[in-house]
Symmetry: C2
Subunit: 251 residues, 2 copies
Amino acid sequence: MASFFNRFTSYSNSSSNSNSNSHAPSAPSPPSAPETQGQEHSHATASPYHSEQNQPQPYGFNYGGVSSYGSYGFPPGTSPEVIRSFQMVDRDRSGFIDENELQQALSSGYQRFSLRTVRLLIFLFRNPIDSSRMGPNEFTALWNCLGQWRGMFERYDRDRSGRIDALEMRDALYGLGYAVPSSVLQLLISLYDDRSGQQVEFNFDSFVECGMIVKGLTEKFKEKDRNYTGSATLTYEDFMSTILPFLVSYS
Amino acid sequence: MASFFNRFTSYSNSSSNSNSNSHAPSAPSPPSAPETQGQEHSHATASPYHSEQNQPQPYGFNYGGVSSYGSYGFPPGTSPEVIRSFQMVDRDRSGFIDENELQQALSSGYQRFSLRTVRLLIFLFRNPIDSSRMGPNEFTALWNCLGQWRGMFERYDRDRSGRIDALEMRDALYGLGYAVPSSVLQLLISLYDDRSGQQVEFNFDSFVECGMIVKGLTEKFKEKDRNYTGSATLTYEDFMSTILPFLVSYS
């Protein structure tokens, strides 16, 4: 049990935006992630206005017009693809996108996620001002994280079927820094068992949902286990308050 | 915080079937519950074959043919209404009903519950042999519990609109033995906020779902806080294993 944090990512909730480009340093580089870790645009730290972007920027200071991680701007070095995806759906230029818009924006770079997964993503990458919507910072952090997860998913989806089995899911989670005990893994898998007798498989959507549940709950537990002992003491209020938000995304 | 158990029900998960007729002694009697605590049929302990039932019993020993709490029989004193509802949907006489059948069976005595709520009920009142289906014992325990909850709901639904507001929901939960801290209550309410700006209201379905989440999580916490201190120490594995089943019902 004491080893469950052994390959923990250093990535924490996106509410601490200052490290949104530096998550999971211990995880291997994804083989084919669309945009991860900002490698491709690392030179852009000197170009916070995203000059790589071909199209004119119709937005004001809210978009790319900040020299560091502003509350509403994109972080320096953000890929134009991320900005384009965000702008595509933020038609009222509010600087925030809601769950339906996020579902649409992510489709351009990844795939269409279920609304269940989208709600979980909004919750886990929530911004401190409006927890029901996502700003550029949170969107960028999410996009980069999904790039890394996509890479890990594709590493195990060897036949390119778009699906991985339960053992591959375990290995992929391990690759992302989460060593899930086997009893917990069994429970996780049972969430996706349709009782048809068929072996449980995960597409990218359910892999992300499953992994984000693990990520979110593990980070919550870590907050109560600062010394990484593998045990934590919670009050009843802590316990309930920790769990309930994870039911939010399923309403 | 130390007072959150102050009006705790003594009722525990139905897997301990031996007390399925003796739950929540501290809770007030429901004013108009369909069938609760077996009061109406308390004489039936001398008549375990449910002779009150007018129609012939097409079932073998599985139904009412046991003199005490058999594994698959109804407990002595079970209301004929409960047995009829169960039999109505258990057409193959297997002694078990699945989630769709449970949804249908409960409709006869209460109302049609969402599949979300039904899955949560099956999980919380699960039988030890097959956790995806419900036997007579579990069904009876659930039916009686819902009777009590219906009574509490109706006590607060003064205008008989079929809905109660958030404060009434809090009071109803308190009446059932759950003193939910206000921060937790806020989170609970947010689960049902459709962000339309309208005040959150609960129909009996969402009241039961909401209350059963509280009941289930609180009982899990109690298992780790045997001395009722208001705090509990959990390992990572405990923590994850406690929470994950609550996501089951939402798949």
